[in-house]
Subunit: 583 residues, 2 copies
Amino acid sequence: MYRTHTCGELRIEQVGQEVTLAGWIQTVRKFGSINFVDLRDRYGITQLLFSESLNARLDEQPLGREFVIQATGVVTERSSKNKNIPTGDIEITVSDFKILNAAKTPPFTIQDDTDGGDELRMKYRFLDLRRNSVRKNLELRYQVGRAARNYLHTAGFLDVETPFLINSTPEGARDFLVPSRMNPNQFYGLPQSPQTFKQLLMVSGYDRYYQIVKCFRDEDLRADRQPEFTQIDCEMSFVEQEDILNTFEDMLKHIFKEIKGIEFNEPFPRMTFDDAMEFYGNDKPDIRFDMKLVNLTGTVQGKGFKVFDEAELVVAINAKGCSEYTRKQLDELTDWVKRPQIGMSGLIYARYNTDGSIKSSVDKFFDEEQLKLWAQACKAEPGDLMLVLAGKEERTRKAASELRLEMGERLGLRNKNEFKPLWVIDFPLFEYSEEDNRWVARHHPFTSPKPEHIALMDDVSQYAKIKANAYDIVLNGTEIGGGSIRIFQRDLQQKMFAALGMSKEEAEHKFGFLMGAFEYGAPPHGGIAFGFDRLCSLLGGSESIRDFIAFPKNNSGRDVMLDAPSEIDQKQLDELRIKLVRE
Amino acid sequence: MYRTHTCGELRIEQVGQEVTLAGWIQTVRKFGSINFVDLRDRYGITQLLFSESLNARLDEQPLGREFVIQATGVVTERSSKNKNIPTGDIEITVSDFKILNAAKTPPFTIQDDTDGGDELRMKYRFLDLRRNSVRKNLELRYQVGRAARNYLHTAGFLDVETPFLINSTPEGARDFLVPSRMNPNQFYGLPQSPQTFKQLLMVSGYDRYYQIVKCFRDEDLRADRQPEFTQIDCEMSFVEQEDILNTFEDMLKHIFKEIKGIEFNEPFPRMTFDDAMEFYGNDKPDIRFDMKLVNLTGTVQGKGFKVFDEAELVVAINAKGCSEYTRKQLDELTDWVKRPQIGMSGLIYARYNTDGSIKSSVDKFFDEEQLKLWAQACKAEPGDLMLVLAGKEERTRKAASELRLEMGERLGLRNKNEFKPLWVIDFPLFEYSEEDNRWVARHHPFTSPKPEHIALMDDVSQYAKIKANAYDIVLNGTEIGGGSIRIFQRDLQQKMFAALGMSKEEAEHKFGFLMGAFEYGAPPHGGIAFGFDRLCSLLGGSESIRDFIAFPKNNSGRDVMLDAPSEIDQKQLDELRIKLVRE
């Protein structure tokens, strides 16, 4: 036995006991002739006081930071107590010790505020993981998973494992592929999600399925996207959208209560996709603050201001209490909307001064009476600042959405300790892909159109109007999950594939097994999948999912600690009957 | 809302209530003018009685097996109750119904004893999964996983997800490989186990880690091996072998209690590897029955019987109570040991008759006095039958082990409802691979030799004597888990890689990250991994792990339902910069 207790559990009650602890040396310091060590493990820190009789041994075998030692001694009451840590009332008067493993000086400090840069910490991820802040993230991740499992268990869901070596059926994102040695020239694909399998489980009568499962997408990585990521994947039979929303709203409430101690007594608000786009400019509104987008197009056009008159959309937000913004602040905001990521040509503003006057950057075209109409539309009051964008509809709406979030940030309205979930519902079934020059599934091809819109599928000119029984759950402006009621009839599924431009043969080749299954008694069903990494990062108050993944990859899909991926042996290539194409 | 209740929950108390059920039609039958349907879902079966007023509609829309329907009606007490099912006291007098989805006639019956062959059931796995017996297996799997998680949670283990896209480091089994598009000509490997990651987590101070996780091995598939399989993977810091054995013995006891209602009040027995080989002829003894192997070499040699005199090993088992075996039975057994899988040239027997006489098949060489010595060694008594094998040591021991199991089977001593766990300990560190013409790690290269044997690592002639701190947990003759105390010092790990014939460069290239980690304060640690599929199949009383996997692959690594793996598009190959080698 290496230890009788952990470094986090001894208290004043144990004074007088002989104990053995083991752990890492956080600090070594000497007061006069007495050596003190802070010994650390996952559970806490305990102070060790080395008896003077050990000084000779300590001179011979000096202790250093991150050494792993075992120490035996008596629990003693401290004269100067440390109220900041639970073990702060006691220390161990060490009578014997053993160095279990020495340590080189770590390349960065093992502390919450480390001096290590991103690259270095990723290379030495096993040291980065020692930091309290990182460990707390992974502990939170474990607790979130456990809370989800407990809720789903009580609600009658079964965790069923689905396979990882499946077929490649690229629809949307790119699959990772795995050459099969036993089936030469054939490949498995790694799943982007267990979508078809969970639907098959519904056909099999499993009624309520879940899995916390790795998924894979071979996409170019944007910041904070990982080639492998984890979903809480769920599916239910004999349900309508309402049943699913209620079930998983309850799951999230359970998680919030368990993890954050927050109780939601009201139902989560719901918003249609159309409203989200109109009032927030995007499909994942951050509703921690109001500042809705106001369409001023009708109000402002025809007054001779070319920028407005030529615009497809003129949209304003009301920055409450910002009428005193300085010229410099406004210039800064103007530069901000002109950045290529936002891409606007300028920003128009109108101050509603506290004295009741309104002054705008376009006074030449709009008199105070006109501006009062703006204020009315924006529900602006004296003290407020209206910010107006104009241009092509899509870009302008997107820019207004970004500007709203930026202003929310600047005004401190996006408190990461405040949680505002929102269901966004009634998504369009299709969206037009300019890139592929065809209609694609907005959610995925298994999503059911609203029954009353099925007839519109016969007429491509109506595609934009078709709504789906699809929904997203949004938390603080981030989508943390989404799902839909599924198609469960072969005919409709076939129609859907055809609408997406798939030939009958292609559809049969790729998804014949699923459509076949629908012919043997498929129940109505639907489900949802949560982005587990993202959910954890939001609950942990972080922007970055990497902080919540034990061994994440960088933006090139590399694990810099392992130096993976890497070249393989010719023998391995030969066995797989593949050849490299070198450039 | 599709239903007010499931098909498993209505009882006599609900008589008079109007309810709506939804599910699959198990059977339709007509008594006189009344139609009866057994409606099935995951939770049970409820009988529906269709009011005569519905007969016209039923004629129009006939119901068939596996149709999915929704039915509304009043709960009624049955006149003839069915005591075999929990809902057998009631039926629903249906006033309205709706066909939610029709069904083609399934290719096999959806019953415990189905008429479908293996191939057909795998092709239509979504129908096979509907069968009660299969669903019960997957429900048991879920319960076993949940029991393990609950135990490990209480014991302070953290579930930490480790990556799937890692480096290929073939050591032993072959890796599945994943070409990287973003890092051309480089490959990820899928993990054969999270071994190095869990060790890194120990270096990171996580103290107690677990994961129920998919692992991958690209090996030629023997019956009942799957290319992807699931492990309960665990690791602990600051532990010795004893701590691990105790912790996971408790976990198994918890699982047995939760799943089977069996309480083990005694500690699991432990046996050294050497004893297992000597007394059972293999390293995973089935101790549900005794019938130990008895070494007769010394007893029988030098009596002029060439078969014995030339043998490396003469070994007997005592088949208790079998002295009356007929000539035919003995011939059958002789044929059995002569099969190529067993490979012996013959079987010698000696009957200890109930009258006290002993007769053997080698009476020419051994008189009754001699045979009494055999009986003494075998602890045979009147009524017993001694079966003797002789030949090359390894083959003969293996054959005796197989014969013992076969006799146990024939004598009904291998009851699948009796559970006899056993720890096998003190495994050799190395074993000699004739194939590779070198010493290989018996467990894996991270396993620690027993400290007192480390010195032997300097002398290759001593390798066979080196024991490891490695252990297996065996249940009813099947290994369900194994692990070891790990090496945690860079020097020793380097020595181990060298002993396995790895150059310093190769070791550094493949496992530099781990040896590097050992230099920054690695704690003593060890762990274990359980074969989850196998554990579930044993608890479920089945020989086959496939019955406990939702979507298993066949012996060619194919999913016959999906028809995976499959050929991929040229575009995909081009993106990965690989070419196929066609034959």
